[in-house]
C-alpha cells in the first residue's frame, strides 16, 4: 500500500512484516524511531509472538541478539554511531558464530568530536567484522532490503546490516509502498536454523578453536560472503517476482553505458548525484553513476564490469580512512587493478555536511578536465583548518582543537545548510 511516512516508521513496518521473534535494542539517534515503532507494535499486539527486550546498553543488545538467535529465534536490533562501536566485540561474535541477526544501522558519524549527523563512518568501521552490509538509497529500498536481509541472513547463516543514512532517510517523510503480509510470507520462509541451543538436543556453540582449525573457520566465513555475492543478485530477482520492484542486487548503474566519467557512491547521496548526472547529460557531458548496494561482500567483478568502458572514475564517499584516504575508494581501486583508469577519491558529507548539487557540478566538471587531486575533501573550509594549524605553530598550549575551530566558524544557528 502506498503511504507517505517517515523512513524509520517504514522500516519498522517492514521488520514487523518479517515476523521477528526477538527485538532487543538500546536507543540512540538517529535509529531510535525504528525500535520505538516496533516496541509500540509489540505492546499493542499488532506484532504477535515477538518479545521486545529492553537492554541496558548496545553491548547488551547484541549479546541478547546472539543468545536469542542461537535458540533459533528470528532476531532484530538496530543501532548507530557510538552504539555500534560499543557493541563491536559482540558484533564480531555474531558473525563468527554464524548467527543470522538483522541489524539496521542508521548511519551517523563517530566522535570525538561528538556529532549526531550522518556519514558512513560507523558501518565502515565494521568493514571486516564479517557481517553483510547493504546500503539503501531511498526509504523504499531501506524497507525492502530488510525483507531481503532476513532471507539472505538465514539462508547463509550470516548476520546482515542494513545501512540507511541517519536523518536524511530515517527522518524523511516520503512515499513508500508497504508490502502485504501475504507478499512477505511468500518471499520469506520460516527460519530454519543450522544450529540451535535446545535442551532436548544439547550442543555447545562458541568453542575455543586453536591454530589447528582457526584459519579454516575464518576461511569459511569468507567463503560464505563469496556465496552471498551469487545469492544477492538472485534474491533481487526473486524479490522482484513477488513485489514487482527492482531492489537490492550488488550494484546499480545509471546512465553509465557510454560514460567517460563514472561516479561511484553509496546511500542516499546517489539521488542527488543522479540529478546532477541528468543535468550534465543535458549539457552534453558523458557521465554516469554506479551505486554500490552491497559493500560487504564487495562486488569486485560487478564494479570492474561497470567501469570497463569509462575513462575515469570518482569515488564519492561519506567516510575517511584517516592517514590513507578513502575506504570505499580502496576497494574500487582494487576492483579495477590493471584497467588503466584514472581514479579520484572524494571525501564528502562528513558529520552531516550537506552535499549540494552545486558542489557536485563543480567537482565532476573538474574531474572531467583531469584537474582533480587524487584525494579531495569536498567543500572543506581551508581557512578554518589553516587558522588552527597556524595556532598550533604559534602556541604550544593551543587548547582543544574542535572548540577553537568552532569559535572561528562562529554561530551556526544562523545558517541554513
Amino acid at each position: 500500500m502506498l503511504k507517505q511516512t517517515e523512513g524509520s516508521h517504514a522500516v519498522a513496518e517492514a521488520v514487523a512484516l518479517c515476523r521477528p521473534e526477538v527485538i532487543c535494542a538500546y536507543p540512540i539517534s538517529p535509529q531510535t524511531h525504528i525500535v520505538e515503532g516496533l516496541g509500540e507494535m509489540v505492546k499493542s499486539g499488532d506484532l504477535k509472538d515477538c518479545e521486545f527486550i529492553n537492554v541496558e546498553s548496545e553491548f547488551a543488545a547484541m549479546s541478547v541478539a546472539i543468545g536469542s538467535s542461537a535458540t533459533g529465534a528470528r532476531t532484530y536490533t538496530a543501532t548507530a554511531s557510538q552504539g555500534l562501536l560499543f557493541m563491536v566485540e559482540a558484533v564480531y561474535n555474531a558473525s563468527g558464530l554464524g548467527l543470522p541477526i538483522v541489524m539496521t544501522v542508521a548511519n551517523r558519524a563517530i566522535g570525538a568530536p561528538i556529532n549526531i549527523w550522518n556519514d558512513h563512518s560507523d558501518s565502515l568501521s565494521q568493514r571486516d567484522c564479517g557481517w553483510i552490509q547493504l546500503f539503501a538509497e531511498t526509504n523504499q529500498e531501506a524497507l525492502d532490503l530488510h525483507i531481503q536481509a532476513f532471507k539472505l541472513a538465514e539462508e547463509l547463516s550470516l548476520p546482515v546490516m542494513v545501512c540507511m543514512d541517519g536523518f536524511i532517510l530515517t527522518h524523511a517523510y516520503e512515499r513508500v509502498d508497504i508490502p502485504t503480509q501475504e507478499q512477505v510470507d511468500a518471499f520469506l520462509p520460516p527460519y530454519e536454523p543450522r544450529q540451535v541451543l535446545d535442551p532436548a538436543e544439547p550442543v555447545s556453540i562458541g568453542a575455543m578453536v586453536g591454530p589447528e582449525a582457526f584459519m579454516e573457520v575464518r576461511y569459511l566465513a569468507h567463503a560464505k560472503q563469496m556465496q552471498a555475492l551469487e545469492r544477492i543478485p538472485q534474491m533481487a530477482e526473486e524479490f522482484q517476482a513477488v513485489f514487482g520492484r527492482a531492489i537490492g542486487g550488488l550494484t546499480h548503474s545509471y546512465r553509465t553505458d557510454d560514460a567517460d566519467t563514472i561516479v561511484i557512491a553509496m546511500g542516499s547521496v546517489l539521488g542527488t548525484i543522479k540529478d546532477v548526472v541528468d543535468e550534465m547529460r543535458d549539457a552534453g557531458e558523458k557521465i554516469g553513476v554506479l551505486g554500490i548496494t552491497s559493500f560487504r561482500p564487495f562486488p569486485i567483478a560487478a564494479v570492474a564490469a561497470a567501469l570497463k568502458h569509462c575513462k575515469r572514475f570518482v569515488v564519492l564517499e561519506k567516510s575517511l580512512a584517516v592517514g590513507s584516504g578513502g575506504i570505499v575508494a580502496t576497494d574500487v581501486r582494487m576492483a579495477v587493478t590493471g584497467m588503466g583508469l584514472k581514479g579520484y577519491t572524494v571525501v564528502a558529507g562528513l558529520g552531516g555536511r550537506a552535499i549540494t548539487k552545486k558542489s557536485l557540478h563543480a567537482l565532476f566538471a573538474k574531474a572531467g578536465r583531469g584537474e582533480l587531486e587524487p584525494v579531495t575533501f569536498l567543500d572543506l573550509d581551508w581557512q578554518v583548518v589553516n587558522r588552527q594549524l597556524e595556532r598550533e605553530r604559534q602556541t604550544r598550549r593551543s587548547g582543544p582543537a574542535a572548540e577553537s575551530m568552532l569559535r572561528d566558524v562562529g554561530t551556526v544557528a544562523s545558517k541554513i545548510a
Partner: protein
C-alpha cells in the same frame, strides 16, 4: 518542483508542519519529501524543516537553499537567522504575526515584491483560540494553502485529521480554516490594491 522552508523554534511543531505538508501533497497524488535540519534540537532553539513537492519522484537530498516559499513560525527569528536566504524573487512569504511587514522592519526587503505573495496571519492567537495551545504550525498550514495555491485546503485538513484525533483535530481544523480565510482576504485586498495602483 515546489520547495518550502519552515523556520521556527523547538516546540512549535516545525518538523510536524513539514511532514503534514508532505502528507497533504501525497493525498493529492503528488510526490513529496519532508525532512528536518536537525541541530541539537531543544525547546526554543531555532529549527528548520523542509518540504519538496513535485509530480515526479524526488531524488534530491540537499537542504532547500532556494525555496519557493518560506513559512516563519516565530517572527523573533527575523533578527537571529537569515530566514530569507536564497528565497526566489517573488517567492511566497507567510509569517506568524499580527504585525505588518513594515512593522516587522521588512519594508525595504519586500518593496518590489508581488504584494499578494506576502502574507501574515496571527497563527499563535488562532492556535490558542481553537486548540488552547501555543502551537502555531497547523494554522500556518491553512494559511499556506491560501497563499501559495500549491495545495488545497481540504488536503491540509485531511492531513490534520491523519495526524490528530478528537478535540485536538477539530480545533486544529477550525484554526486552519480561519487562517485560510484570513490569508485569502489579505491576498484579495493586496491584488485589489495593486489593481488600484495600476
Amino acid at each position: 518542483m515546489f520547495q518550502v522552508r519552515i523556520h521556527g523554534r523547538g516546540g512549535q511543531g516545525v518538523v510536524t508542519a513539514a511532514e503534514m505538508l508532505s502528507v497533504a501533497a501525497f493525498d493529492e497524488g503528488r510526490h513529496a519529501q519532508a525532512f528536518p535540519s536537525f541541530g541539537s534540537e531543544r525547546m526554543g532553539a531555532p529549527v528548520v524543516a523542509f518540504c519538496r513537492i513535485d509530480d515526479k519522484e524526488i531524488r534530491l537530498r540537499e537542504p532547500i537553499m532556494e525555496p519557493d516559499a518560506i513559512i516563519i513560525q516565530d517572527p523573533t527569528l527575523l533578527h537571529q537567522v537569515d530566514v530569507f536566504a536564497g528565497l526566489k524573487k517573488d517567492g511566497f512569504i507567510l509569517i506568524n504575526t499580527s504585525k505588518t511587514f513594515d512593522q516587522l522592519g521588512l519594508g525595504d526587503f519586500i518593496r518590489d515584491w508581488r504584494q499578494e505573495r506576502l502574507c501574515t496571519v496571527p497563527a499563535m492567537d488562532l492556535a490558542l483560540k481553537h486548540v488552547g495551545r501555543a502551537v502555531p504550525n497547523v494554522p500556518l498550514l491553512g494559511g499556506f494553502a491560501a497563499v501559495a495555491g500549491v495545495l488545497q485546503l481540504e488536503s491540509v485538513i485531511k492531513a490534520i485529521k491523519d495526524r490528530f484525533s478528537g478535540k485536538v483535530a477539530d480545533g486544529n481544523v477550525a484554526a486552519a480554516r480561519e487562517a485560510y480565510a484570513i490569508v485569502k482576504a489579505e491576498m484579495e485586498a493586496a491584488m485589489h490594491g495593486e489593481a488600484h495602483h495600476a
